[in-house]
């Protein structure tokens, strides 16, 4: 039993980390009143951004021993953040500056982002002239997958809590910092005010558009990190088209599951990661029942959504102006 848990828990965590990044980014975005359905696309963009950075760096340094550990991590991370920022900016420009419909813009951004990822993925595969439709960046990925040095020596404790890479711990730090920011700081209060009632926030002297831009762009960059974590760490630097799957939508589901709280999202991401792979650990399950099991995260989300709306506790509801564009002169 304990042995199963010992192998189950770390796998649930590594499955959950991309979702944690995605949902943390989306929570920050939604707190500003922007329902960014482009997150799945942005996560693809972040992933391919990292791959492009790693690819360029690996090609410029032919010998493995010459790879600079700092640059090998820094360059992919920067290109990932830049590309995800581009996604966030497109979304903000259309919905905040041009006041376009958020749902339509988000879906268009997802179409664009997934296409962007797959197109550049396929182009890189063609550049390398490989036979299989995937690209392997194992040399830079080795720096991403580095685990804590003392994990091995700590036995089961090390395996459960110390066997992850720096990006995994960073995800948890991001979520905790965001929770404190939203709950305990003036900036967080202002941001929540914008999401609940932009007109009131505006009257109180908060720059609504600036808050929306900042929250959405930073949120997009955080979500993009989920993409790079998936490729460079979870998949060991192997990019294959459509490999990321529907994790982006799962991240949006996780936002609801965590009732818009980043600290709950840490716990939620491990639950979702576990639900995602639990079928592997149930002995004697047929292929077809596995398909039914993969439904679990979504069913759980629906149940949470219903419960939240029935109980109508104020602190658990979505931001009141979620999905609505704000125009000062509109009344």
């Amino acid at each position: 039993m304990f042995a199963t848990l010992l192998s189950f828990f770390p796998r649930a965590v590594v499955q959950g980390i991309p979702l944690l990044y995605g949902s943390a980014g989306e929570i920050l975005t939604e707190k500003s009143g922007n329902l960014n359905l482009g997150i799945p696309g942005i996560m693809y963009m972040g992933g391919i951004g990292g791959v492009i950075g790693a690819f360029l760096y690996e090609n410029s340094v032919p010998a493995t021993e010459n790879l600079n550990p700092f640059l090998a991590v820094f360059i992919p991370l920067m290109s990932c953040l830049l590309v995800s920022l581009l996604g966030g900016l497109i979304y903000c420009f259309l919905t905040v500056t041009l006041r376009a419909n958020q749902n339509v813009t988000g879906l268009a951004l997802t179409t664009f982002g997934v296409g962007f990822g797959n197109f550049f993925g396929a182009s890189l595969v063609k550049l390398t002239g490989s036979d299989i439709p995937s690209i392997a960046l194992t040399r830079t990925s080795a720096f991403f997958t580095k685990k804590l040095p003392f994990a091995e020596s700590l036995g089961w404790f090390g395996k459960l809590f110390c066997s992850y890479s720096f990006l995994a711990y960073f995800a948890i730090i991001v979520a905790i910092v965001m929770a404190i920011f939203l709950k305990r700081t003036r900036g967080g209060l202002h941001l929540r005010a914008v999401g609940e009632n932009p007109a009131t926030a505006d009257a109180a002297g908060i720059n609504v558009n600036r808050s929306k831009y900042l929250a959405t762009c930073i949120g997009s960059m955080i979500a993009g990190l989920g993409g790079i974590y998936y490729v460079m760490d979870y998949a060991n630097g192997v990019w294959s088209n459509e490999g990321f799957g529907d994790r982006g939508w799962l991240a949006i589901a996780l936002v609801i599951f965590a009732v818009w709280r980043p600290n709950l999202s840490i716990f939620g991401s491990i639950v979702f990661g576990g639900l995602y792979i639990v079928y592997i650990f149930i002995p004697g399950m047929s292929m077809r029942s596995q398909e039914l099991f993969k439904m679990l995260p979504y069913v759980v989300t629906i149940i949470v959504l219903i419960m939240v709306s029935i109980r109508k506790k104020k602190e658990n509801l979505p931001p009141a102006s979620l999905g609505l564009s704000y125009f000062r002169e509109d009344r």
Partner: protein, 365 residues
Amino acid sequence: MMNNEKKPKEPLFHIAKRPAISWQKAWGIRVIAILLAFLFSGLVIMMLTKQNPISVYATMFDGCFRTEAKFWQLLQEMALLLCVSLAVTPAFKMHFWNIGAEGQVLIGGLATAACMIILGGKISNGLLLVVMIVASILAGAIWALIPAIFKARFNTNETLFTLMMNYVAIQLVSYFAMVWEKTKGAGTVGEISFGWLPRIGNNDYILNIIVVLILTVVLYIYLNKSKHGYELTVVGESENTARYIGINVNKVIIRTMLLSGALCGVAGLLIVGGKDHTINSSIAGGRGFTAIMVSWLAKFNPFYMIATALLLAFMQKGAGEISTVYGIDKAVSDIITGIILFFIIGCEFFINYELKFIKRHKEGE
């Protein structure tokens, strides 16, 4: 605002809502946006692929119109996309964000396939068709009814609810695809030999197209000329107004979503019974999401949707051709579609608002 000349920083322009704009002008702006979008994506294509964008566009055109079969396929793709777009329209007009069309289409298709597999060969073909039609409509409607009830009763967020229902539907279909698999371990159903929708003449495509065109006209009348259509428009504009004039809002929400789901079910029927003759989790093919954009771009007018559906179907068919001719990945179509959508979405701003440039050093008007 104009008299206030002592103000240190005056903005260059301010934004005001346009009162109303003639439809010629509105469509003029949209056409300009589409042309700009093609120009911009041409530049992107040139940068990404080093191909001449004009020849790329010519190839896309070729891929849709070169042979009669290609042209019919384009029309069929347009019709199916249009059908899903029609389905989501009444809900959107009511400001109910049904982004679960993908799942509703899948469930409609699943019900159709279930009838074809279980009843095929046991009852007469005519009766089977009737059962298929009823089953697909019912299945789609029920899938849409679930979020509608919770929306009406508890005001549960419908965007997120319908989105999640998509993935439940996808997994259900994957499950049944394995239950009904043709050869053990294949995981695919293969071609089902019973319950094909009839062909008209010698043409595989025309029945789907005719059905969808009839639905277009019917939905136009329903939305614009019927009491139901009026009621759902009022609910969409303002729920309080609707309550005030005695419309039962909950009833309208549920009724409209039943219609929306039923039409999605029909789309599933047309895809499974009239085109693919099989079932798998990708038969909806993202149409549920694309349809939202088709419907929104057409301002919820069923006749305009024919044009917007054609545009998006053209992009998809054309991109398939590009990828085979130039050897670039077909994902390029998603990039171009995305860019075009961004431009069209953005141009709505210039239809609804105008920029008033502030004249400096002059007396106010």
